[in-house]
Subunit: 196 residues, 2 copies
């Protein structure tokens, strides 16, 4: 067996064909709506029920769009927020989004991995849709997070805004469970739990 020396990740074509990514989103609600729409579209292709976007704060331009690509691209790193960050940095050609004014908008509160990634990325603002309890209700385990993570981000200069479009974001998680979507935790894989 040969150890892999190179790997490549590709955003789905439908992202570019269906979502007018070149169009700025002026309001916070429009930005969250895009993240949720990406999440919803992703489950139609068999992907995980999460979407996230890095926007330029002042203009609302999309710098890095993301959806969960864990299963389709065979890598547990590829949560929506991770994809958004990696592609935003590829778009800008830098490892640090602190070089400008950027924000992460995500359809669900970040898990421990994505919380860590956004901390390192240089974004200055985080806005979430569904709270972590909704992802957990469906069956995801968001991991060993610090209970005071919002305060810890804030202490490092990253603001956490009030949740937006929570019921729309929650509806995507519920739809994923209704379809019997896979919960692709690295250690075990099972079917999502529909709301009772």
């Amino acid at each position: 067996m040969q150890v892999a020396r190179k790997l490549s990740w590709t955003l789905p074509d439908w992202m570019f064909e269906e979502f007018e990514l070149g169009l700025p989103r002026a309001t916070a609600e429009q930005r969250m709506a895009l993240a949720i729409q990406l999440a919803r579209r992703n489950i139609e292709t068999g992907g995980g029920p999460f979407g996230a976007v890095i926007f330029e704060v002042g203009t609302g331009r999309v710098i890095g769009p993301g959806v969960n690509l864990v299963v389709s691209q065979g890598c547990s790193l590829l949560h929506a927020e991770m994809v958004a960050i990696a592609f935003a940095q590829a778009t800008l050609g830098t490892f640090s989004l602190a070089s400008g004014k950027y924000e992460l908008v995500t359809s669900s509160e970040p898990c421990v991995q994505c919380l860590g990634a956004l901390f390192w990325s240089g974004v200055e603002r985080l806005t979430c849709g569904a709270p972590v309890a909704d992802a957990e209700r469906v069956g995801f385990d968001e991991g060993p997070r610090a209970p005071d993570w919002k305060e810890q981000l804030s202490a490092r200069g990253i603001s956490v805004e009030a949740p937006l479009l929570v019921s729309e974001a929650r509806a995507v998680l519920d739809e994923y469970a209704r379809r019997g979507g896979v919960v692709y935790n690295g250690r075990t894989t099972w079917t999502a739990t529909p709301a009772t």
Copy 2:
């Protein structure tokens, strides 16, 4: 500005040319020694002072080698542990290392991002070299980690072994600081702090 649609990451050639990665490492010390050697070699090329390897537990075969590639490849995700996990999964063609028996051996205790990534990856065991205090002393901020992260990993079936080769691992961090290496936190960039 066009949003990036594809990105690729490549392991450094020197990893394959200088480290006999096809050779199994039978003992825990040999495995940690490789992670530390990779970290040391990486700083000679201007990379961050961290190395990590995914091994097959039973055989000691290298499945995914990693070093910090944040600056050279322009992506804040590319901590050594993240690279090791992503390339191990690429080697095996699966998003879940729980399909076999794999361990992560890292030259320094994981930051919050890497802690999250290993939780999702499916590895069953973690062994660290230098404690987080050493990385922090040099100037790295390991982020909003849960204080009981070891217990939280253990509760999820991932064992955290006793630290190994701590002084060898620490020496790489000190060497990085001595050279005036960059601390590439996404939000700010500054020069590492040499030991006093």
